[in-house]
Symmetry: C2
Subunit: 408 residues, 2 copies
């Protein structure tokens, strides 16, 4: 890829993505394959006045070795210095950029039960730090092409050609174009208009129907809003874009109110393994039955990670004609695929969907109906013929989606 | 490179290099270019029973960006969590493997004064932790070919050919051969015999002479021994090989006793920059004059890092016919070049050269004449015609080197 474009993309992530502030720290999480991009991100951040950029390099190959050979106890341990590092994050509130470039099959063969156990051990230790940072940090997840991922998306091509094509798709769906900053401002304004309309309807529930068998109703929280595009940090009011790309308008549904069955419309890459052709049946808000042609065990394990992992944390609306779906590419990566299709997420909800959420404690926000869990896993349900109907507090039916696209 | 050979090399570093113990932690310091080797090191260490392998990935490209844009204050800062991490190292005493693959010119253009200032800030904070670990850890520095380094060593070749050739040289000089473990056992026994003989002589000083103008005398410490090859950890008596390759027999000379001039016989790569064609003149143990055709400023800065950086910490004897010199390759990397030539080191000495060093405090060992400094920089002085003569406590002269090689 041309260095000038990589530089522009890095600038987009730093300026529109996390909107780094003068004197702020930036943490970048990236695989060791992304040195060129990470370098440009660091330069862009420093030029915007970042005091320090630190990089947490990852290697799937090494992670796999650790998973295989370390004991569960060792894997689940959080050392004192790691707690001190989390405390540092709480103290300085750095911005965070995550670069997603994983091989969708990269963790094939890993003992996922062992990994899950370890995660269950470390989660309660890490959670108090994360809770203190809730809604306070600017963060941004964005993609970068790696050879392994590119070959999965374009299996027929040579490695270098596949990487080139994947970069093209990443840049296009990230709305790079002529003037990326302007593109994102316009896009955010558009998403904001959709949200404003939806929020004016005071919906109590959404009903989803599609020819694949999906027939599902989810309850909404009175105080909750639909959000989309850029967000604001709690307290410091810094505007940032948590996902690049992002096409979704989303909310966190009412915990305990979900009935019926949904059929996945795309494979789900979870913990480096694919779950394919699956369905989830809900009763009283909880996933009570899952079926999958591939990866059913992993799916079952996922919804058992904690007591609330089987409840919903997100309902997101994306038209079937979204620019990402229109590329015709199945990315095998949630960041892209979730923005190509209406989706739900199992696990943790977003407390910032609640109006004036800053006035409440996390506990109070959860009591209103926002789910809390150690997982948050999006899965795609949108189809070409999906209809979604809202019901307002007076029982009035309002068409939200018709044949896969916005009905308004 | 073939995977089987990489695996064998990793095994050599893990088993002979640090000799990892069951239940021990291993820290690996490597550039992000060395994923394949680091993975094999991790597997080898786990198979030997390591409880945890952690990797500190480095990127020269990023380091350069940090040096350029961070303030000195920021660069020199040691955060609380970083102190906690050092404390963890003191508590668990992990083994450490360093993979050297640096581009010898990789830090060209960096403001070395700024970097030096930052290092002077952080050093006093880090030093108490390092002191507690002195002689207790197994560690090993070994090489790996990177494209940048390979192109510097073999500038006429294509990148892939140069990498292949450099790997060949690394494996050969690391005595991989048929049975690497046996090779190293034999080699260590040979070095031990050299040391035993030298130690039987009770030398008070060494005088170096060569046709390039070198005419130099260094005093030796009564209680100090010559060491070479494998060493033992303090307390736990674990045998390890700190350098792969290693051809040297060395000691730490008497601080304050060095007179005359030495001419470097090879370029020195320091902080990612080359210092070439230089000389150092000593008076009363101290480097009082340095001259260099290239990098003189950097050399001057180096010996000013602290008050003891201009004193010697090491005198090492390597025959001109060493297998590394015989490859005919100038590696531009101290690990290799120092093992191709007699060398001296400015800065910190090794307290474990003192007989029964475990009975003394660090302070007492330094009072005997072992220099302490924040730097330890080897530079090569051996030539084809170098003669070295020892003087024992009765004033008797004993030939140690004749025409560049062992005289005994």
């Amino acid at each position: 890829m041309k260095k000038t474009i990589l530089k522009q993309y890095a600038q987009l992530l730093v300026e529109m993505g996390v909107n780094i502030q003068k004197g702020q720290e930036l943490m970048v999480f990236a695989s060791i394959k992304q040195e060129a991009l990470v370098k440009e991100i660091a330069v862009a951040a420093y030029k915007k006045g970042a005091a320090k950029v630190s990089v947490e390099w990852g290697s799937d190959a090494l992670t796999k070795v650790h998973y295989r050979y370390q004991s569960v106890k060792q894997l689940g341990k959080v050392e004192e210095w790691e707690k001190a590092k989390l405390q540092h994050r709480v103290d300085v509130v750095p911005a965070r950029i995550y670069i997603a470039d994983e091989d969708p099959d990269g963790m094939k063969g890993v003992n996922q039960k062992k990994v899950a156990k370890a995660r269950m051990m470390s989660y309660p230790i890490i959670k108090p730090y994360i809770d203190q940072l809730e809604n306070k940090e600017q963060w941004c997840i964005a993609g970068a092409a790696s050879p392994e991922w590119a070959k999965k998306v374009f299996p027929g091509m040579s490695k270098s050609k596949a990487v080139e094509k994947l970069w093209e798709a990443i840049l296009e769906t990230s709305r790079m174009g002529e003037d990326p900053v302007r593109n994102w401002k316009e896009h955010n304004a558009d998403l904001r208009r959709r949200c404003d309309y939806l929020n004016s309807l005071n919906l109590k529930s959404l009903h989803y129907e599609a020819s694949n068998g999906t027939d599902f109703t989810v309850g909404l929280i009175d105080e909750a809003r639909f959000l989309g595009g850029s967000e604001l940090t709690l307290g410091s009011n810094i505007e940032f874009n948590p996902n690049i790309p992002s096409e979704e308008v989303f909310t966190s549904p009412m915990k305990g109110e979900a009935e019926g069955i949904v059929y996945a419309s795309m494979p789900l890459s979870y913990e480096g393994e694919l779950i394919e052709n699956f369905s989830v049946r809900f009763e009283s808000g909880k996933a009570v039955e899952v079926k999958a042609e591939k990866g059913e065990e992993l799916l079952k394990q996922m919804i058992s990670m904690d007591e609330t992992a089987a409840y919903l944390g997100e309902a997101a609306l994306i038209p079937y004609d979204s620019p990402i779906r229109k590329t015709g590419i199945l990315f095998y990566n949630t960041l892209y695929d979730e923005n190509a299709s209406c989706h739900l997420a199992l696990g943790m909800g977003f407390t910032n969907v609640i109006k004036d959420y800053e006035k409440y404690t996390q506990k109070e926000l959860q009591d209103m109906g926002v789910n809390d869990s150690m997982i948050h896993v999006d899965f795609m349900i949108g189809t070409r013929d999906m209809n979604i109907t809202g019901t307002d507090k007076d029982g009035k039916k309002i068409k939200i989606f018709e044949n896969g696209n916005w009905a308004f």
